[in-house]
Point group: C2
Chain length 378, copies 2
């Protein structure tokens, strides 16, 4: 089985257990899951159903919280195009963590990285995508006084000295082995990892990073240098990838229109896409389906419902049962998903009209502080 998982490429069937071993992270076991739920005073579907499956030092984050030392959250988005459902799944969990633990959250928009990645990309397009992505992110409902959303190209003026402090401690050797850089890699990409590490040093508290597992290499390098500059090693909580509509395996791709549902897809488009492309675990004919039943474990519509869209545990069980028994047809299952997605996107559209992006970027309490802050380096 071939699998490639780097921040810039995910391909092949993904063996998440093997990633835990290869990356040297820890599985989220029932003990730690219970602990989060106990401290949060509630449960989140993405954790309950094991979409977040791996971590680094999550136990220490929870200990710091119990001991009133606190922690902070950091995540990000690379603005290489419009956002789809897969992009916001980790953000929804991040929002829940912020609500439950009352902590600060930093969201880095890596416009620099997306520009560096491909020579033919225009800065104009990156600016346009950044703006629309930021609107989508802010509309998710984070606390506007505890969340700071920033574009690297703009915030660089504050963080440049810290980038220098980090980058002078990372050798080419390290990034070559961790990120797979080669002689043909451009020098901007080679130093970029230091930029992505900067926000892990925004506070002296421990930083918890909710993200998909492909971002872990950054945190591995951060953990090697954090203590040498007087900060704590970053902690992380890793998600799987939301499967593309077209296959129960892999990662939703931004470059394949039919594999994703976009945040700006209208109701009709969502319906057409799910009906046409969602990989089905149903049988060839209605008769056969009624007789042998569907396979929810490979059915993407079912997976999407289970991962994020049907939070009610009883309902998801009964859908699973009905589908397995052949009582529910693929079309009916898809109808449920379409309704759920359209309900979510409808709310999202409304939120986008109301949200005050400036609060997250400049005017909210945390944002204001971050623009006034002087970063001290050694």
């Amino acid at each position: 089985m071939v699998q490639t998982v780097t921040p810039w490429e995910v391909k092949g069937e993904i063996d998440y257990k093997r990633l835990i071993t290869e990356f040297g992270t820890k599985e989220i076991n029932p003990t730690i899951k219970d602990k989060i739920e106990e401290l949060a005073g509630g449960s989140h579907v993405l954790l309950r159903r094991n979409f977040f499956f791996s971590h680094r030092d999550l136990n220490l984050v929870l200990r710091d919280y119990e001991e009133k030392k606190g922690f902070f959250l950091y995540t990000g988005r690379g603005p290489s195009g419009p956002m789809h459902i897969g992009h916001i799944v980790p953000l929804l969990f991040t929002k829940w963590l912020q609500e439950k633990f009352g902590v600060n959250l930093y969201i880095q928009i890596t416009d620099d990285e997306k520009f560096l990645l491909k020579r033919e990309r225009s800065w104009e397009k990156i600016e346009k995508d950044s703006k629309s992505n930021i609107l989508d992110i802010c509309a998710l409902g984070f606390d506007p006084d505890k969340t700071f959303v920033f574009r690297n190209s703009e915030y660089i003026k504050k963080i440049y000295p810290m980038f220098l402090e980090i980058s002078r401690r990372i050798t080419y050797s390290t990034v070559k082995s961790v990120f797979g850089f080669v002689n043909e890699s451009n020098v901007g990409m080679i130093s970029f990892p230091a930029i992505q590490m900067v926000p892990t040093f925004f506070e002296k508290k421990r930083c918890l990073i909710p993200s998909a597992i492909d971002q872990d290499p950054y945190w591995r390098v951060q953990r090697d240098i954090a203590e040498t500059i007087g900060y704590q090693k970053a902690a992380a909580i890793h998600s799987r990838f939301l499967p593309p509509l077209t296959s129960p395996q892999g990662k939703m791709s931004a470059s394949s229109e039919e594999s994703a549902v976009w945040l700006n897809d209208d109701e009709k488009t969502v319906k057409q896409k799910v009906m046409k492309y969602a990989f089905s675990g149903g049988r060839e004919t209605v008769e056969e389906h009624r007789r042998r039943g569907g396979r929810p474990e490979v059915d993407v519509s079912f997976q999407w419902l289970k991962i994020i869209f049907e939070e009610n545990d009883n309902k998801i069980s009964s859908i699973s049962e009905d589908y397995k028994k052949g009582k529910m047809l693929t079309g009916e299952l898809k109808e449920i998903l379409v309704e759920k997605i359209n309900s979510f996107l409808g709310n999202h559209r409304k939120n986008k009209e109301k949200v005050d992006v400036d609060k997250f970027m400049y005017k909210g309490k945390l944002a204001k502080n971050m623009w006034e802050k002087e970063f001290e380096i050694s």
Copy 2:
């Protein structure tokens, strides 16, 4: 013969003819020298006596000037400590060029590079050195409305997108071969060359860079990419190194106190240093010196006079003659140099008290434009 000449290391006896071949630059021949002097309406000691000895595309710069297309000047300073006489020699020639051709001049203070270069350097020290270096530079008398002096760590907010545009076009392969980076090099240093190239793109006109020959590798890489992003290849005019007090060969070292005369050395210190350390071309005894004569070609005091401090051609000839014939003793030669240096430094101290640094950095015509300018990238 071993020679090493890179932006970070100059050692061994320097064979300037060989550098021209190795770096692929052109010698400044009498034809081009005459042309500069004709267009400038005058001559400068550093050019007349061949201290500036090599160039790239200087002929095209002069052609552009004649055709009224114009050009601009760019040079820089790495603030790794106080400045000595060797640091300002190319700046004095740059000042002359600005005066004679009436062009804009950009001076980059590479505080970032100096911080990246050594892990143990504190940012506090870099800030202190930057401030004092900038004062020294501004005191040299550039046109405050046509000169922009900026620190990378501060101006990065304007030039970051342009840094990205350049850095995505330079591969690790290239910087490895041009600058000699290795696996142990830090990733900040690896991407730094792109920062040093940014000012060559400040105007659409041709950029002429007066600097010591060790900076040429940057311009070599710049010339490979300039046209792909719609700009012109940088032109350069290269100086030799001012020899250290202690030896007629090599480069004055900032880390060896006795080898340099610092801009903040007082009169007594200058006298003591020159008397004690200046490598002499004189003979062992006065008697022998009177009989056999001194050797100005290896005498550092004579070299300093010839390179920069005695601009009068008749005077320098007679000093040379008198020294060769044994009429002038080493002590007398040194007295002349001491007086010249102290006169220069005395003026410099006065200029430092009067100069308005803010004009060069923020408030002069060019500086103001540069802070308001929006850099457009593709």
